[in-house]
Structure formats: structure tokens, C-alpha cells
């Protein structure tokens, strides 16, 4: 088959670097013929080869783009190439992965995700039931009882049905063939022409490691597959799902107008702050602690101050404590932790526990003021504590908001109007956000 007429993609006179009788030679010739059948411009073809004997193929194709990758990851690289081509470039490229059974095992997730995405990639799995290049070890596609160098008494596990995996991953084109099938060229060309993800598993013999250890001939491959319960032939050819770039166009790109651009803030208010202030906000997750701190920070920014806000919470974002350290300053802020707190706002038991564990009682100065919910008991004597019925008057979800509003009203680190503006934008008319009694505090 390796004639100058057909050999438009393969290097003329290329010597196959495979053992005598190895199925790889046949697969590569059939793939070359499939490319010829589709009459593809060689510049529009990229072979992405995996590690293993089949991965030697790239050196045999001197006309098409070849990308020889790391073990198992070929489909991952191919996905990036195909997405970039279809969405950002010429959209002409046909990306074909050549991978062995070992590679398809270590890189299974790349195959699954490429199928789920329905990227325009064809994966050809050259399945000779073992790792050939490294000496004939068992792979996940080795059939049960099959003898390999690492399963000298026969493989213990049944083999993975990669076509069923592809099916479960919603692949549109799935075939299982043998390397000697007369219609292999046709099936591979169909797979390459398929608009979207396609996979062709080709069963073959490793004459170095497979046939020496097992009573095996080429004509037994079909029977072996059957015994494993694996279907043969073109299992699925269903171009129902749109190829990735088409789906991206309708599902994402057409919505991009809905993405809101960032709004810049222009300082509208004048602050009267001479020195940096550090404020620690502490409470429970889900009770607007960090978002209130952010509102406070924004109001400070609207008043011409420099601001930093450092948040802390447990790894699960919706439970336990929630804490923010905010610094507002007339000058540039370097260190972003509150080393010496001017205000400590504590609105729940979780919050109180956390400021103890974060050593806040040793991060105070002689001006430090605590604003705490009146349900909490702080025993440290000599502290300037303002205890308020915040949860009662503002509700648990707005206790932090009420506490901050109180701090700004009473101590005016910057104009209360700035904060009020943001409050009203978020919660409506200022006088109706909290219970009536709150405003008398």
C-alpha cells in the first residue's frame, strides 16, 4: 500500500519500526489511506501521538503536522489544539490521536472529556492488550486470563470496554475493528470526517509479547472480544450533538453581551482620617460578614481612602465562622493584616470563637473599640466594649450591617452618606432596613 500514489502523508519509503507481524504497521497504512480518501490538505492534519510503540508513528509522517506527547495525555493536547483551531483559528484542522491501550488507560479522563465536549478529534486506540514497548505488561484493556509478563498466570481482571466508556461519554462515532479488517480504511476515514468526537479501537497482535505467551492468532481477535462481551464493528454513528465550537457559539458566545462590565468608582466624598484604621469583622458564614466588610471598603474608597480587605473562612464556605480584616488609610497600605485593631465587630458566637483563635485580643491598641451583639459575653476586663442588641434589631442576617452602620455613624472614619448610599442600593430606604429601635441606638 505504501506506494507514491497513495503515500501523500507518509514519508516515502519509510521503514516501519515495528516487530514482524505487529498490527501497528497495518493501522498506520490504513490511516494514511483514510487521509488520502478524504483528500485532506496535509497542512490541515495534525497527528497527535502518545507514548508507546504506536507513538513512533509521528516520525513516519513527514507531510502532516505531528505532535508527539507525554504518556496518555495525547487526547488532552489534541483537545486544546482542536478547540483553538475551531474557535480561534482556521477551523480546518483535523486532529487525530494515535494511542495504545496503555495510554488510553492512563489518559482515560482526557478521552472521556473530549467526548463529552464533542471536540473535533479522532482517537485511534491501537489495542494489542498490553504495554509492548516496556516489555509486555498488563494494561486495563488486557482480557481476563490473558498472559502477560506481569500476569504470568493470566490477567485477573476483565478488560475495560473503552467503546462503552466512549458511549457513556456521549461520543457520536464509536467503532471497534481489527487491524486486518478490509474496511478499516473506510471506518477510519468515516471517523475522521465525523464532525465531533470519534473513536476507533483497533484490535491487533503484539507479536513480541502477546502471541508468544498466548495461543493467539489474528483470526481469534473477534472471538476474544466477544468473550469479553465487547461489540464489534461501527457501534455508533450519530451526528446528533453539535460539534464543540458550534455549541460554544450558541451557548456562550451569543450570551457575551450579558456579561456586565466593571464599574469604576469616582470618589464623591471627603474623609477626615489622619491615620490608618484597622477593622476586624467577625461572625458566622451566611450572615453577610464579608459582604458587609466589602460594602464598608467600597464606601471608604468612595471617600478617597486606600483600602485592603483580607477575608478568612473555613474551607467549606457556607458554614462556621466568617472573618474580614479591613484597613482604611489616607496613605498606601503595605501589610494587609490588622496588627492593631481600632474596631472589632463581633456579631455571633462563631465570630467570638474565631477572634479568640486568631489572637485578636493581642492585636489591640488603647483606642480599640469592640462592637458586639449583646448576646455575647466577653470577659476581658478593661476593654472598651459597646454591647448592642444587633441581632434583635437587625436580624442575624443584617447584624453585621447594623454594627458597621453604627460604627460609621458614631465615629465617622468617613462620611456616613457614602455607606448609606450603598446600603440603600442594596436594601432599599435606609430608615426601613432595620427595626425602628435600631435607629435610636
Amino acid at each position: 500500500m505504501n506506494t507514491p500514489e497513495l503515500c501523500t502523508y507518509m514519508t516515502q519509503g519509510a521503514v516501519m519500526p515495528f516487530c514482524k507481524g505487529c498490527g501497528h504497521s497495518n493501522i498506520l497504512k490504513k490511516m494514511n489511506d483514510a487521509l488520502g480518501k478524504l483528500n485532506l490538505n496535509p497542512n490541515d492534519v495534525c497527528l497527535v501521538t502518545d507514548i508507546g510503540c504506536i507513538g513512533l508513528a509521528d516520525a513516519l509522517f513527514d507531510k502532516v503536522h505531528t505532535v508527539h506527547t507525554t504518556h496518555g495525555r495525547s487526547t488532552g493536547f489534541a483537545t486544546g489544539i482542536a478547540v483553538a483551531d475551531k474557535v480561534l483559528a482556521s477551523s480546518k484542522l483535523k486532529t487525530i490521536v494515535l494511542i495504545g491501550d496503555g495510554g488510553s488507560m492512563i489518559g482515560l479522563l482526557h478521552i472521556v472529556n473530549a467526548a463529552l465536549m464533542n471536540v473535533d478529534v479522532t482517537v485511534i486506540v491501537a489495542n494489542n492488550f498490553l504495554f509492548g514497548m516496556t516489555g509486555g505488561q498488563t494494561s486495563s484493556l488486557t482480557p481476563e486470563h490473558f498472559n502477560t509478563v506481569t500476569s504470568p498466570f493470566g490477567s485477573m481482571n476483565p478488560s475495560l470496554d473503552i467503546c462503552q466508556i466512549a458511549d457513556a461519554s456521549k461520543a457520536g462515532f464509536i467503532a471497534r475493528k481489527t487491524a486486518t479488517d478490509k474496511d478499516l480504511t473506510d471506518v477510519i476515514s468515516e471517523a475522521i470526517a465525523f464532525k465531533g468526537f470519534s473513536i476507533v479501537e483497533v484490535l491487533e497482535l503484539c507479536t513480541e509479547h502477546g502471541t508468544k505467551r498466548n495461543d493467539l492468532k489474528g483470526n481469534m481477535l473477534l472471538k476474544m472480544a466477544e468473550e469479553e462481551g465487547h461489540k464489534i464493528g461501527v457501534i455508533k454513528n450519530s451526528p446528533v450533538r453539535p460539534e464543540f465550537s458550534k455549541k460554544y457559539e450558541t451557548d456562550v458566545n451569543s450570551h457575551k453581551g450579558e456579561i456586565k462590565p466593571l464599574k469604576y468608582i469616582n470618589p464623591k466624598f471627603i474623609h477626615n482620617l489622619k491615620k490608618p484604621n484597622g477593622i476586624i469583622f467577625s461572625g458566622s458564614a451566611g450572615e453577610r460578614v464579608q459582604s458587609t466588610a466589602a460594602m464598608f471598603a467600597e464606601a471608604a474608597l468612595m471617600s478617597g481612602l486606600e483600602v485592603t480587605q483580607k477575608n478568612d473562612n473555613p474551607v467549606t464556605q457556607g458554614s462556621g465562622f466568617s472573618l474580614s480584616e479591613v484597613i482604611i488609610s489616607p496613605e498606601e497600605i503595605n501589610y494587609t493584616g490588622v496588627a492593631s485593631a481600632d474596631y472589632v465587630i463581633v456579631v455571633s458566637e462563631n465570630g467570638l470563637k474565631e477572634i479568640k483563635s486568631q489572637d485578636v485580643f493581642n492585636r489591640l491598641n488603647d483606642r480599640s473599640i469592640f462592637i458586639v451583639d449583646d448576646s455575647l459575653v466577653i470577659e476581658n476586663k478593661g476593654l472598651n466594649i459597646i454591647s448592642l442588641p444587633l441581632r434583635k434589631y437587625c436580624g442575624g442576617d443584617k447584624a453585621a450591617v447594623g454594627a458597621v452602620d453604627y460604627v460609621i455613624r458614631k465615629f465617622e472614619p468617613f462620611p456616613h452618606e457614602a455607606f448609606k448610599l450603598l446600603l440603600e442600593k442594596r436594601f432599599g430606604e435606609y430608615g426601613k432596613i432595620f427595626k425602628e429601635e435600631y435607629y435610636k441606638l
Binding site: I81, H110, A297
Partner: protein, 384 residues
């Protein structure tokens, strides 16, 4: 009330958001992400921004895929980036070496958190300096940039792309939880990013086309022109040791020279990759060196020490690797002591500077689990 009439473009932005915006400015067109605290903000940022800027951001099923997708996209000819933290970086290490050996430009943002392993997802750290730099078999240099605030995240992300493009290499933008996730006031009018650099692409009508090779070079500083997959010039890329044309070869002098060139090309350009900020004080006995979030602490500490009448200089390092040796020696000149402050237990950068600074009294300030405070540095400065 009097209204302020200045026209600033202010916003509250964190480092992750500005890294994403920096990527857009740099011309990034492709992002693949896998969620991980504290880096997820970059992923979210680019999911929103890339479609608006003629690019695409996609989700990947793991970090290996994320970087493989990016390298594939870059091979197709577009600027690509991913972002992760320590556990994800561990998974990307094979793939970053693939980008290195295939000379594929790509940017990886590593937002450090507390390690080892899963460590503390919401706790900051600067413990990934060694694993970031020495991620390759063979110990090849990965250029690493490290900003200290959200403004610099923007600017250095552009620089990271520029280095990746100019030197055909993976570049790491190293940040940390505090730099990445701490929101701060930012004036967009003050952003000062360098102009974008783009890889030189070979075409079949270039004068040098006949002699062009995928990984060819005539001198240590030469960077071969890039050929995109899908273009008219055939690509022969491989992660295996290869000759200049990109073909796997064993025991071949040209192949070994091609491997060596991966390091030589970075070293040949190292003087162009120096980004530091020196705060020099005449007759200072002590130089403090730091980077990332701790460099901000260092600034306050130096100010406090000077307020006590102590003469002290400081050096913020942005270009962590290649190590800016000349700039460090210049800053240390005339000093007796060099303090190196970093939020890890073993003084990772200090270890690397020790041979360079063998004539100085080297002091490490290290910490685990929370930020080093200004007082912790000031106390060391004043007691020397």
C-alpha cells in the same frame, strides 16, 4: 458636603482578578481551568472576560488536562494560560516540562497556599518556591515572576506572557493567597504594563525558511521562530529528546546540544529578565530581601526601623527566576547583614541565595501558617 472632583478610575480588585485582566491585556485568547482555592478567581475572571475579548475559556476535568489544553492551544498559535495552587501544580509538572522541551509559550499562575499536600486551602504561604522552580527532570530554569499586589498582578501577568512569547518557554506567575485574594483599592489610571510581545512565526515565504528548523539555533541566545500547528510550515513537536528538526534521536551530539540549548537560551537572556525594586539607604548595614506578600510587610518594617534611626535598605524581588544575582549583589554592596524574609519553614529562596551571599551575615525570617508581621522583621533589623 464638598464633593471630590478628581477623575480617578478606582475599583476594589484582588490579585486574581487583576491577573485575569492582565492576561486579557497581554493578548491571552485561551484559558483552561480547574477549580482550586485560592486560584479559582482567575478561572472565574477569564470565564467572564475571554468571550468579550475574542477568546475562549473552558473548564477541564483535572489540572493535567487544564495545562495540556493550554499547551495544545498555544501550539495552534494562540496565547494561553491556566491557574492553580500547590496540589494542582503537582499534577501539572509533567506537562510543564512538555511545554519546556517543545518550546511552547504558556503561562501558569500558581497561587500558593499552605502545604504540604492539600495543606490549608484558605491559608496563605510562600512554600512553593522550590517546587515551582525545580519542577523539571534535569533542573532547567523556569522563569518565575512574583507580584506583591493587585496592580502588579496585572503588570507582571503581561510580562509573564511577554517572556513566554519571546523565549518560547513556560513562565510561572507565582502569587500567594494573600496577594491573590486580598481586595484592595486600585486606580486603573496607574496601571503600567509593558507593551505586548508576540512570538516570531515562521512562514514559507520568509528568507530564512529554507534553513529554518523547529528547534534550530546558531547561538545560545537564539530563539527559533515558532510554527503553529495548522499553518503552512510543518510542525514536528515532541516531548522526547530530539534533534533541531524535532525528531527523536538517541546518543546524538545534536540532540544533546538541543537539550542544552533549552537552558542556554534562558541564561543568555537573563539580564533582560531582571525586575526588582531597590529601596537603598546610604551607609545601611542591613539589606532586607523579600517578595510577594512578605515584601509588603518588609516595607512597613523598614519604615519602622528607620523611624528608630536605623539605616536599612530593602530589595523587593519580582523576577524570582532566573535569580537576579547582579541586582542582589548590587543592593547588598556595603552591607554586613542580609535578612531574607519569606513565609515558609525552611527559607527556600534563602537557601538558593546563600552561595551568592557567602560574604554576608545571612539571617532568615520564616513563618508558617500566617503572614510575617512588620514587627517580626523590625525586631530583627534593630537587634542586629
Amino acid at each position: 458636603m464638598k464633593m471630590n472632583t478628581t477623575t480617578k478610575k478606582l475599583a476594589l480588585r484582588n490579585g486574581n482578578q487583576m491577573t485575569a485582566e492582565g492576561a486579557i491585556k497581554a493578548g491571552c485568547k485561551f484559558f483552561a481551568g480547574y477549580p482550586i482555592t485560592p486560584a479559582s478567581g482567575i478561572y472565574k475572571g477569564l470565564i467572564d472576560l475571554l468571550p468579550l475579548n475574542n477568546g475562549i475559556a473552558i473548564s477541564s476535568p483535572d489540572e493535567i488536562s487544564a495545562l495540556a489544553y493550554c499547551v495544545g492551544a498555544s501550539m495552534r498559535g494562540v496565547k494561553a494560560m491556566t491557574a492553580t495552587s500547590g496540589p494542582g501544580w503537582a499534577l501539572m509538572i509533567e506537562t510543564v516540562q512538555y511545554a519546556m522541551i517543545t518550546e511552547t509559550p504558556v503561562v501558569i499562575c500558581v497561587v500558593q497556599r499552605l502545604g504540604p499536600c492539600t495543606g490549608g486551602a484558605t491559608q496563605g504561604a510562600q512554600g512553593d518556591i522550590l517546587i515551582t522552580e525545580f519542577a523539571s527532570s534535569g533542573g532547567y530554569t523556569i522563569p518565575v515572576l512574583y507580584p506583591t499586589n493587585s496592580k502588579e498582578c496585572y503588570e507582571l501577568t503581561v510580562e509573564a506572557f511577554n517572556w513566554a512569547e519571546k523565549y518560547r518557554t513556560p513562565v510561572v506567575l507565582l502569587t500567594d493567597k494573600e496577594v491573590g485574594m486580598t481586595t484592595e483599592s486600585l486606580d486603573y489610571n496607574k496601571l503600567n504594563a509593558p507593551p505586548n510581545a508576540n512570538r516570531h512565526v515562521i512562514t514559507d515565504h520568509d528568507a530564512d525558511y529554507e534553513n529554518w528548523k523547529m528547534y534550530g539555533f546558531d547561538s545560545p541566545d537564539m530563539i527559533a521562530k515558532f510554527a503553529p500547528v495548522g499553518g503552512k510550515v510543518k510542525v514536528t513537536a515532541t516531548g522526547s529528546a530530539h534533534n533541531a528538526k524535532g525528531y527523536l534521536k538517541k546518543n546524538d551530539p545534536e540532540t544533546l546540544a538541543t537539550l542544552k540549548h533549552l537552558e542556554d537560551k534562558i541564561q543568555a537572556h537573563r539580564d533582560e529578565m531582571v525586575l526588582v525594586k531597590e529601596d537603598h539607604e546610604k551607609d545601611a548595614d542591613t539589606l532586607v530581601i523579600s517578595f510577594g506578600i512578605t515584601a509588603r510587610t518588609m516595607k512597613d518594617a523598614v519604615k519602622k526601623a528607620r523611624a528608630q534611626g536605623i539605616k536599612v535598605s530593602s530589595l523587593t524581588i519580582y523576577s524570582m527566576f532566573p535569580i537576579p544575582k547582579k541586582a542582589i549583589l548590587k543592593a547588598a554592596k556595603g552591607c554586613k547583614n542580609v535578612i531574607i524574609a519569606e513565609e515558609n519553614i525552611n527559607g527556600q529562596y534563602r537557601m538558593l541565595l546563600e552561595p551568592l551571599l557567602k560574604d554576608f551575615n545571612i539571617i532568615g525570617i520564616n513563618k508558617l501558617g500566617s503572614m510575617i508581621t512588620p514587627d517580626e522583621i523590625t525586631e530583627r533589623i534593630v537587634t542586629l
